[in-house]
């Protein structure tokens, strides 16, 4: 009898660990895809993948985090293509997942950084008109992201991008931006995510910008 119970328990555990392993496996697989996505369609597909996981794993913040991140990346690609009219809709989608992530995981630097990126996208729809609202909100969120984890290299990376792409007459600076990219890279080198699934993107981006300077 004992054996039955034991074997039943074992079977249950193996099932459970299988499920757990499956979550990690799928997440690892999808997170790896982030680097290969290029087009808005790629990012949309990735966002959908994460959404599926998020719908099942309602107690985890990471699937929602990555779904939001994929939407934001989609928005950033659209922005570079000059399709400003579509940014609002994409940002609203990202916001849904940020809210879901935030409801599980509070005061997380990574989530607040995404929130900052969403506000920046919203601002870019019409900077002249929205600077005072979304520009300010974005700044607020960036400060929070920095406060919750001063060593988060992504915060430094996004700051660097902001300054790098802001024209000098608006207080931007390529030089200051470059310094921040270097600071970000340093932080990336010493950054260890808590688990293998936690956000760990951005290092290549920092390296890319530093590479730009070296290429000159």
């Amino acid at each position: 009898m004992k054996k039955y119970i034991l074997s039943f328990a074992l079977a249950c555990m193996s099932l459970l660990s299988f499920a757990q392993a499956n979550y990690e496996k799928v997440m690892t697989e999808k997170i790896a895809k982030i680097e290969t996505c290029k087009t808005p369609e790629d990012f949309q597909a990735l966002a959908n993948d994460f959404q599926r996981i998020a719908e099942k794993e309602t107690t985890k913040w990471l699937p929602n985090y990555y779904a939001a991140f994929a939407y934001i990346q989609k928005g950033r690609v659209l922005m570079r293509e000059g399709k400003m009219q579509e940014l609002d809709a994409v940002a609203d989608q990202a916001q849904k997942f940020i809210d879901a992530a935030e409801s599980v995981e509070k005061e997380n630097s990574e989530i607040h950084l995404l929130q900052k990126m969403v506000y920046s996208l919203k601002m870019m729809v019409n900077p002249q008109e929205r600077y005072m609202t979304f520009g300010m909100k974005a700044q607020d969120e960036l400060n929070k992201a920095e406060k919750f984890n001063p060593n988060n290299p992504r915060v430094t990376l996004i700051k660097a991008e902001d300054i790098y792409f802001t024209p000098e007459q608006y207080g931007g600076s390529k030089i200051k931006g470059m310094e921040l990219f270097k600071a970000a890279l340093e932080k990336f080198n010493s950054f260890k995510p808590k688990t293998s699934l936690e956000p760990n993107w951005g290092k290549e981006e920092a390296a890319y910008f530093i590479g730009l300077e070296k290429a000159k």
Binding site: Y4, E41, K56, Q85
Partner: protein, 740 residues
């Protein structure tokens, strides 16, 4: 042994579950494949996203009865049960478009909406108004650069499509503003009293407006006041003609805010510098202030209050047209106040919206003459008006784009007028009820059907006004809409100076519009026909023989008229980098037999052709915005009409010369984009009518009609310089204190 068996079974079942089944299919909408559809095997991680042809494919290890879901924000979700065995599964699906507010076609016949930021059709925002050269930051002036609004310089008000300035009413958060413009003297238009930045957006309707609004024969301007500010701030502005300051304080929980401003203006200094056409004996000056609070209640309601007071005065001296007098003088003292309290809250499907406003206006005009430097005794024209407006609307959503709303409005006016022998006390309560429904049949077809009923206690009459509008999307970016409506308006009280049996004045609008809007560009054509009936007819009475100030009094409603026209509007923010420009053209053909017109005439406020161009360019390198505007209006007709032996006759008539004005303004923002800056400063330099065109607004005639003088703007070319600074309240101090 049994244990081993169990292990074996469970292992086997795992192994089994790893055998993969391929699921493929195609997702279509109207028989065309659509991309970016999220296909999910419900409650699993498995699924795929369709490619641009609508195809998808994925593998799963799940077995048995499963549900496949198809989701996309723009389409209705579809669930399809499938059975997964060993064979591959193929599932094709046709999706239905989701009806939603963003994609639904908007009824835009007659209206230009600038509040709805979600929609690309947003045309005129507060920033647009501030950066329109020649608009002086006034909403009403900026609107004259849109099609359908006439440029009438000598009188305040919005002259829409052959309508008088009083045929367009202005509302704030649903409540009528009875004193939107400052008191004025004849020939010099009053200004907007309300600060443009008080309103986050506006809907301007040049015809066919909603049944929620009434008492305007031509148009309606619906202003929406700002909600909670994003942060606390204080600001001030300084220029040679005014000085003002204010603050906005946002509560710590961001659920309430309050603020106030105070301003003083005086044209005295400019009068010394510029060569004014108008001889001001008292330079225009004024003191104004306002206060507001906004509270978000715990239950999700939103309470807003805005109150203001304003005093203004000026004195004008003109050469007298009457023999025996050298000059005619008029002095104005105006005082008024406006208070608006509104509340809205959602209760489930119901949105409850109520607002109340009170305004008090006093305008004290003194007329006198001067002969051999001796001023005559003054004749006083004293106007006192008290107005109360109350409105309640309940809005119920039926589905995502359909709604039903209804409510009532009470509009009470009590006016006293003293002018020589005339002592008038006018009271009127207009009670109205209205019902309206938005019907969204699909994202491509929607309708609005409404009706409004009114009773006027003064006229002791009722009216019933049906209104109807339809919008249809012709193609992706092209929409067309049609609007019809019946509109009523009480005779203006200023024409009610003797007893007469009067009725509502009436107009009917037919508007047809075609619009194309794409990213950064919009193009609209609008054709309209407007028919007027029961307009009031008046006769002139001259209460004081020393003055040529005539008073008209209404005696019946036998007037009528029409206006028809064609308008084109083109706005483009995309073609040229950093340049936003728009062009509007209006053709207007109008005739009216109303007021003292002896026969049907082209109204003196209606120009046949109006063209305006507005261009704005921001030059990032200089942190400077350069704004240009130009208006051309074909010369309007003018008339000298007098009443002789109870008959109105035209003594003089003619056509004014064409109106032309080129305006230029610069905004310099030295701190823009500086991350560490705590102050936002804007320097403004604006030059209106830079070419110095000598525009004429009309003519005044002497009592016998033999002499006349032109009504001209107070100054031909005007230069304005000003500085505006706003500070976001510094939070660093708070942060330091909290950490100590």
């Amino acid at each position: 042994m049994k244990t081993k068996l169990l292990f074996l079974i469970s292992f086997f079942s795992f192994a089994l579950s790893f055998s993969q089944t391929k699921i493929t299919g195609k997702v279509t909408f109207k028989n065309k494949g659509i991309g970016e559809i999220n296909v999910t095997l419900k409650d699993t991680y498995d699924g795929a996203t369709t490619d641009s042809d609508g195809n998808f494919s994925f593998e799963t290890s799940e077995k048995g009865n499963q549900i496949l879901t198809f989701t996309h924000p723009k389409y209705n979700e579809v669930q399809k049960p499938i059975v997964i065995e060993d064979k591959d599964v193929s599932v094709n699906t046709e999706l239905k478009e989701q009806i939603n507010e963003i994609d639904a076609v908007v009824i835009s016949a007659g209206s230009i909406e600038a509040s709805d930021r979600k929609r690309a059709t947003a045309l005129l925002t507060p920033i647009d108004i501030y950066t329109t050269a020649g608009a002086d930051g006034q909403i009403s002036s900026a609107l004259t650069y849109l099609p359908g609004v006439q440029k009438v310089g000598e009188t305040e008000g919005l002259f829409v499509r052959g309508g008088t300035g009083t045929e367009t009413k202005i509302f704030m958060d649903g409540s009528l503003i009875n004193n939107y413009f400052s008191s004025s003297v004849p020939g010099i238009a009053g200004r907007d009293r309300f600060n443009t930045s008080l309103f986050k957006g506006n809907i301007f309707s040049s015809g066919g407006y909603s049944a929620l609004y009434g008492q305007a024969l031509s148009g309606a301007l619906m202003l929406e006041s700002v909600d909670l500010p994003d942060q606390s701030s204080y600001d001030f502005g300084v220029s040679p003609i005014f000085l003002n300051g204010g603050f906005q304080k946002l509560g710590d929980n961001k659920n309430y805010s309050y603020g106030a401003t105070l301003g003083y203006s005086n044209l005295n200094l400019m009068q010394k510098i510029f060569n004014f056409n108008t001889n001001f004996i008292d330079a225009p000056q004024g003191l104004n202030g306002d206060a507001n609070f906004r509270i978000k209640t715990k239950s999700g309601g939103f309470l807003k209050y805005y109150g203001m007071f304003d005093t203004n005065r000026m004195g004008v001296k003109t050469e007298s047209l009457e023999p025996g007098y050298d000059f005619a003088l008029v002095r104005l003292k105006g005082e008024n106040t406006y208070h608006n309290l509104s509340f809205k809250q959602k209760f489930g499907k119901y949105l409850f919206n109520t607002s109340a406003s009170y305004s008090y206006n006093q305008s004290d005009l003194n007329f006198s003459t001067e002969t051999n430097q001796i001023e005559s005794e003054k004749t006083e024209l004293l106007n006192d008006g008290n107005y109360i407006n109350f409105k309640a609307v309940i809005d119920r959503k039926i589905n995502k784009i359909s709604a039903l709303r209804g409510g009532f409005e009470l509009n009470y006016a009590n006016e006293k007028l003293n002018f020589g022998e005339v002592n008038k006390n006018y009271r009127d309560l207009i009670s109205s009820g209205f019902l309206e429904t938005d019907l969204g049949f699909s994202n491509n077809l929607s309708a609005k059907i409404g009706v409004r009923a009114e009773n006027s206690s003064y006229l002791n009459k009722n009216n019933l006004a049906p209104r109807f509008a339809l919008a249809y999307r012709l193609a992706k970016d092209w929409t067309t809409s049609f609007a019809y409506g019946l509109f009523f308006q009480n005779p203006e009280s200023k024409y009610i100076n003797s007893s007469a049996d009067l009725d509502f004045q009436k107009s009917q609008h037919y508007i047809f519009q075609v619009q194309r809007s794409t990213e950064g560009r919009s193009l609209r054509f609008e054709a309209f026909y407007k028919k007027y009936d029961e307009l009031i007819k008046t006769q002139n009475i001259v209460p004081n023989s020393n003055q040529n100030q005539q008073v008209q009094t209404a005696f019946n409603n036998n007037g009528n008229g029409f206006a028809k026209g064609l308008e084109v509007f083109w706005r483009d923010k995309k073609t040229f980098e950093n340049i936003d420009y728009w062009i509007s053209y209006s053709f207007l053909n109008s005739k009216r037999d109303f007021l003292n017109y002896p026969v049907s005439l082209k109204p003196s406020f209606a120009a046949e052709h109006t063209i305006s161009v507005v261009a704005k360019r921001f030059i990032p390198e200089w942190k400077t915005g350069v704004n240009l505007s130009y208006t051309y209006a074909k010369g309007r007709p003018y008339y000298d009409i007098v009443t002789q032996n109870d008959k109105n006759i035209i003594r003089n008539e003619g056509r004014l010369k064409d109106y032309n004005a080129l305006n230029l303004s610069f905004n310099y923002l030295p701190n823009i984009g500086k991350k560490d800056s705590k102050a936002f400063t804007i320097f403004v330099l604006s030059i209106s009518n830079i070419l110095g065109n000598k525009n004429v607004y009309g003519y005044n005639f002497s009592q016998n009609g033999s002499r006349s003088s032109a009504v001209v703007p107070p100054v031909n070319t005007f230069v304005f310089v000003g500085m505006f600074i706003s500070f976001g309240v510094d939070k660093t101090q708070d942060a330091i204190n909290n950490n100590l």
